[in-house]
Subunit: 480 residues, 2 copies
């Protein structure tokens, strides 16, 4: 562990604060290869928790995990023109194997539609083979040229990608929404981050998709972060990769496809949204360690009694399925330990000193509020259980309030620019639907349409850019 | 599913039989990129089971999962000369990112010692930071030029790699053996494959290691397969990457390191060892589906009663934690279903027809022996539970008998060659310890020393190659 805590305040220099928390709480580190990161155990454990939850949900609905090669022949990427144009600028290319130059260079997967659907075309023969619903957890490479941001922008990251093929357009649409809502559940109920659901504008959709749905959120610095996407691919890829089936009607049909994914950037979002000036704050449901017990050392018989009691408490909580660390290291003081475990965001700290021992109690300290709660011995397990729920709820409630506070409805392009440069966040504005207006905003302000929300709001003005009749209210923001 | 079963007999053309089982049981497929494979859901589920078991064991002993970049700068690989020489011929190189040629080409990880230990050097400061015990599950690339063999030889595969750093040589040695025995437990008790444990000869050890320990087994065609390795790296890498710590004695010391791993080739071993002429045979403990229920269709009221009863049985078994498929598809006959599920290796099939319904029983069919067992309704759950254990035990016992049968002690080089070209398998022979004798055998026969067993056997002859005094009895074999 690092020797000092976070030295920058979250609301003074957010970007520097973030880097300090990530490095000092040992969530990630810069790799010795440019643009790449190391995901350290406390962060990787969050990813494993997300994997567990997502796996449970996708398997319960008949999706199955699989693994495809990460090498994609250039010719495959090229088959769908939009897709190729969208991804090629960021592709890492393998050109040599051992001592031999390759005849055709291979892309390291920026996403796996093309190589997967080449196989779908072989595997899908009849309506009996549908729906085909697979998923893979893997590494992805996109050769970013902008500055590296741990978890948020790295050349390699981890994700899951679900890919499905269906007999009808309607089934495809249902799948797109199923995946999106599954992600909403995971992000809101595990990471405690509220999200806005909707579709992307055409200019922001996935390269090759019919349309893209997404979950968007606002970070404390007012920038939007895309938390996950679910694409309706229609029959675009099916036609290019010849994924056909013989229907019950004995006729040939192209399948209808979807793809959807979340990435390790969600860990970055969790850090940004919940962290504070003391460091990380882990939502209990994803925290690799939920409780840390710190004995307050004393001498003689009392020390032994405290040691025995803290071990007993550890046993009781472990038996209840709580993940507990008993930090009884002799070489550190209790104060030092408090700071370290606060930095690492452990939801609840339990202190036990000689006075507590006599009183038959412990002191519980909530990481989210700092509140100190004396708890009678008999109530320890029950109180921890309740605190886990309370802290989880409180983090989501606080994040919801911030999301709301950082969402502004504007009446004009002037107001739009003022808000964007002051508080930023989501800016709800009336839009005519014309991509030119969207492009103008992007050129002039850097903000893009993050999401066209499913929860429709009637425009209260004409299009704030061109003044023509507005079609809808959309969410603009500058984004990660 | 494919329309036909396996057409080749295991003991007639083992190699072709293997390919048919893998493809027809839908365990893997050749990828459209040369040398690569797709791991399909039924095989990936076995990998997930192995991950679950290994994760449980490594986490219980203080190891933590992490993720390092798959790109390794060429300069890093070069730092340990033996390591570089060992891996470079099989490295895939990234030379271009987007439109820009890279200044230094990047290796796609053939193993992660170098990039990990560069970070260890930064993270390890004092004895308090030790032991450092991490693990990662990831993809690995080795640019094989020999013919692709699904699961056994592909350019990309999946593995886990454990990496640890310790304060003393002794702790490192203990870790090496801990990992090896952990693998033995997983391979024997989950995959039901017996293994021989020992060290590798110097010429076969991991590039850069002090010594390599390994688990070796014999496949039904008499060729050896390395099932896992655990390396004692000593201080080689620590010195090259400057991984030092200040001891309790206030002095600088280099750490002692280990690394160890198993790969997706274990799935290939499972297929080869247990499969038969009908297809795959899954050991119950790793089978994604343990029981398939096939209702024998009938008309009218009886059909409804059978449907209801099979659903009830599915519910009962699911509640007991058994993984069950109820195959009530109308479009296939029971006979077709029997063949398909046998091909896929499901440990137990439950049949229920009108006569069984009347008799208040089901028929259970063991995949490993083909035995048909009438089971009274009330005994279904208990019998399934017992069959899972019996089948698991039976598969291991059968495999142990084969391993023993395929192990031969020879007295001379002549006998060695005769055995190698007839039954093959492990050939136990006396060896003087001279690498020149080892090299001669390899040159002349293609066989290598697979393992110097921990379970020592006194040599019964002089070295079978040079005739000098023998040091030990070692296991030779031709290998995958």
């Amino acid at each position: 562990m690092s020797d000092t805590g976070v030295t920058v305040k979250k609301n003074v220099d957010f970007s520097e604060w973030y880097v300090e928390v990530v490095l000092k709480a040992e969530l990630a580190d810069y790799a010795p290869v440019k643009g790449c990161m190391i995901i350290r155990p406390d962060a990787y454990a969050v990813w494993e928790k997300l994997q567990e939850v997502v796996n449970q949900k996708i398997k319960a609905t008949g999706h199955r995990n699989t693994y495809f090669p990460m090498f994609i022949p250039e010719a495959f990427l090229k088959k769908e023109a939009e897709h190729f144009a969208g991804f090629t600028p960021e592709v890492a290319w393998i050109t040599q194997g051992g001592d031999t130059p390759l005849e055709e260079r291979l892309a390291v997967r920026p996403t796996s539609e093309t190589i997967m659907y080449a196989m779908f075309s072989k595997w899908v023969r009849s309506w009996r083979d549908l729906p085909l619903k697979i998923n893979q957890w893997c590494n992805i490479v996109r050769w970013e040229t902008k500055a590296t941001k741990l978890f948020l922008r790295t050349r390699e990251f981890l994700w899951q990608e679900g890919h499905t093929a269906h007999a009808t357009a309607e089934e495809g649409e249902i799948e797109v929404m199923w995946a999106l809502n599954m992600f909403k559940d995971v992000i809101e109920n595990y990471l405690a981050i509220p999200v806005v659901l909707g579709t992307k504008s055409d200019s922001e959709k996935f390269a090759g998709a019919l349309y893209t749905t997404a979950l968007e959120s606002i970070m404390p610095d007012g920038k939007a972060l895309q938390m996950g996407t679910s694409h309706n691919l229609g029959q675009h890829f099916a036609k290019v990769f010849d994924v056909k089936f013989i229907g019950e009607d004995k006729q040939d049909h192209y399948v209808w496809q979807t793809s959807w994914g979340i990435t390790t950037r969600l860990i970055g979002a969790m850090i940004m949204v919940h962290g504070d000036d003391k460091g990380l704050v882990m939502p209990p449901k994803v925290a690799p360690t939920q409780v840390v017990i710190v004995p307050i050392p004393f001498k003689g018989q009392e020390a032994e009694a405290i040691a025995a009691k803290t071990k007993e408490i550890q046993g009781i909580l472990t038996a209840k399925g709580v993940s507990v660390i008993l930090d009884d290291r002799q070489e550190y003081t209790p104060g030092w330990k408090f700071h370290q475990w606060e930095l690492k965001g452990i939801p609840v700290r339990i202190e036990l000193g000689p006075r507590d021992l006599k009183a038959g109690q412990v002191i519980m300290v909530r990481r989210d509020t700092g509140e100190k709660i004396p708890v009678k011995e008999a109530d320890i397990a029950g109180t921890v259980e309740k605190l886990m729920l309370d802290i989880q709820d409180n983090l989501l409630a606080k994040a919801k309030a911030i999301l709301q506070e950082k969402t502004t409805l504007v009446q004009s392009y002037e107001e739009f620019k003022t808000v964007l440069d002051s508080k930023a966040g989501f800016i709800k504005a009336a839009w005519c639907g014309n991509p030119e207006c969207e492009a103008k905003v992007k050129d002039e302000t850097g903000a893009t349409i993050r999401v066209r929300p499913f929860q429709k709001e009637e425009p209260t003005t004409n299009c704030i850019i061109c003044g023509q009749k507005a079609k809808e209210t959309v969410y603009f923001a500058r984004s990660y």
